[in-house]
């Protein structure tokens, strides 16, 4: 792996990330659609918990979960399905004939998506905290950064793997992403502590990195609730997320190579209107 090869691939990452980063500036309508509207969904859960006189931390749990939905939606609609859209517009073949690793193109999509989505999620979080007067008692900022970072690596690694698997999809891509929206909201505990699902269900849902990541973030923001509502010790969650990061990045490389070869053999790689 020569230095020039690395620089070339880093340039490819930057190039592909650019439209997504720029999109945040050029289309400010996202503030309404991606911040204000999701807050309405979050507000419904907040009022349910308030009405039931649930512990005040639950409002914080819901707002954190609401903010994190942005990342899951980004994975489904802007990572997994992205190569399908790129195929329809003709970009995919141009990416595939470029002399760079396909992973750098996917990484560029991930970096751009991560930047934009962090902006969206932060806005949701801040507005939610202000509007619902949420108090956070952060115990370990370093651990928080570590959990968030590793969660994002694992999550976007999973997104890259999905993108590869979706490579040959036609319109099924849309249905598959729809199928994985609401069920994952439930399984990953976006609006409640995942521990409520029971140990084995929560353990199964932990294959989705956001399940462990969200649980870890909640424990770090509300350390006093860890024993009662936390699923696993945060350190263990961090280790598991690191393992998932490696696994998904490896699988994404494997699946991308396989699907590209399959697409070239069947001729479906550049076939539009499927």
């Amino acid at each position: 792996m020569s230095e020039s090869w690395i620089i070339q691939n880093l340039r490819a990452v930057r190039g592909r990330a650019y439209p997504r980063i720029l999109g945040a500036q050029r289309e400010p309508s996202w503030i309404f659609f991606d911040v204000v509207l999701p807050l309405l969904g979050v507000a419904a859960y907040v009022y349910v918990y308030k009405f039931m006189n649930a512990p005040s931390e639950f409002v914080g749990f819901v707002i954190l979960g609401g903010a994190m939905t942005a990342f899951w939606l980004n994975i489904l609609w802007s990572m997994a399905s992205q190569l399908y859209w790129e195929k329809e517009t003709g970009n995919l073949s141009l990416y595939l004939i470029a002399p760079v690793s396909r992973l750098s193109i996917l990484a560029g999509m991930a970096v751009g998506g991560l930047f934009f989505t962090t902006l969206r999620a932060s806005s949701t979080l801040i507005i939610g905290i202000v509007v619902f007067s949420v108090t956070l008692s952060l115990s370990s900022p370093i651990m928080l950064i570590a959990i968030f970072t590793v969660t994002m690596i694992a999550l976007y690694g999973m997104g890259m793997m999905f993108a590869s698997l979706y490579l040959l999809f036609g319109r099924e891509a849309y249905h598959m992403s729809s199928l994985m929206t609401e069920p994952i909201y439930l399984a990953s505990g976006f609006y409640f502590p995942v521990k409520a699902l029971g140990y084995w269900a929560a353990a199964g849902a932990s294959i989705i990195p956001i399940t462990l990541g969200l649980d870890g973030l909640r424990q770090l923001f509300y350390p006093s609730t860890s024993a009662e509502y936390g699923f696993l010790p945060v350190e263990l969650e961090l280790a598991m997320l690191a393992g998932l990061s490696v696994l998904f990045l490896f699988l994404s490389k494997l699946s991308l190579d396989y699907m590209e070869k399959l697409g070239k053999t069947t001729g479906r790689l550049t076939l539009r209107w499927q």
């Binding site: 691939n9 340039r11 930057r14 190039g15 650019y18 439209p19 595939l96 004939i97 002399p99």
Partner: protein, 326 residues
């Protein structure tokens, strides 16, 4: 030095996903081609002839079913990374890029996938935009461009990476005369620059475009290469023949023309709106003209125009394929 492109018995068969979706299609059938470096090579054929399939294989987007293809001496199947370093591709009617980016940003983005330094990329982009008369559009968002401007941008995208070999798949498809001329002139200038071994493989179904631009042309139909030579030599194939064009009032029964001695091949096009049938004959005996004229009259039509012409690539195509492009 290795040829720019070489194919050996290249065959590609497309099988349907399910049996009920139809039969297998043999898109390429034992194609043998050799394109030398520095050539502007044309692949001429009607829609569905196999032109795009060949380009997809050469640009590493598709695998052959059998046979071999080499680009710059590298096997497209096993050495595709080396092939990709040396090529780029532009297709007609392409809608690549992102509408919210400006023309300059879009071109820069694609240059990044080839590892080109930003400063170098911007210099090339501005230079080419200027040559294409689009410098004033460089800060416009791509979604605001007209079809012609967008296609010019796509063509620039292909050249900006300065590839050894450029595949152009119907680059002037659907464009007006001016936009097509600008693109054609640029292609010729790029290939003809001294001390360079740049190669262009151009597919088209515009006969005049192939005739005007290409050093050599391969005529392809039903996945097979029917002839491959310079435009002049190809035209010699029909030089011994005479080409006759007739415009007549709509000729309903054309079977009468099938059996006229001396007619090598003929095609017809009906313009129902204007009540005109255009007939084009390749003759190996001039005496057939009088029989054709009497045949048309017997068929109930009136002759509106009649002319003998110099052979064109279209005549070559008719002679080889037995039908016109339309």
């Amino acid at each position: 030095m290795e040829p720019a492109v070489e194919t050996r018995s290249l065959t590609r068969v497309f099988n349907p996903k399910k049996k009920k979706e139809g039969k297998s299609v043999r898109a390429l059938d034992l194609v043998n081609l050799k394109i030398e470096r520095g050539e502007l090579f044309g692949l001429l054929g009607p829609n569905g002839a196999g032109k795009t399939t060949l380009l997809k294989i050469l640009s590493t987007l598709l695998l052959p079913t059998s046979g071999k293809a080499f680009v710059s001496g590298f096997d497209v199947e096993n050495e595709f990374v080396e092939v990709r370093k040396r090529i780029n591709m532009v297709s007609g009617g392409e809608i690549s890029g992102y509408g919210l980016l400006t023309v300059r940003e879009n071109l820069w983005m694609f240059s990044q996938f080839y590892g080109i330094k930003s400063a170098v990329a911007y210099e090339r982009i501005d230079d080419m935009l200027s040559k294409f008369g689009m410098l004033d559009k460089r800060t416009e968002k791509v979604r605001t461009l007209s079809t012609g401007q967008r296609q010019k941008m796509n063509v620039i995208r292909g050249f900006v990476t300065d590839p050894e070999i450029l595949f152009l798949d119907e680059p002037t498809l659907g464009l007006d005369v001016n936009a097509s001329r600008v693109i054609r002139d640029f292609i010729v200038d790029w290939v003809r620059k001294k001390d360079r071994d740049k190669t262009v493989l151009l597919t088209t179904h515009y006969m005049a475009e192939a005739d005007q631009l290409c050093d050599r042309i391969a005529i392809i139909d039903d996945g097979r290469i029917l002839a491959c030579d310079t435009p002049e030599n190809l035209k010699k194939l029909v030089k011994a023949s005479t080409t006759l064009k007739l415009d007549v009032t709509t000729l309903k029964d054309k079977r009468i023309l099938d059996t006229i001695p001396g007619v090598e091949k003929f095609t017809s096009t009906d313009d129902l709106e204007n009540n005109i049938t255009s007939l084009r004959f390749v003759l190996n005996d001039d005496s057939a003209v009088s029989d054709i004229v009497s045949g048309v009259i017997r068929g109930g039509s009136k002759i509106l125009a009649l002319r003998k012409t110099e052979p064109t690539l279209e005549d070559v195509f008719i002679k080889l394929v037995g039908k016109g492009f339309e």
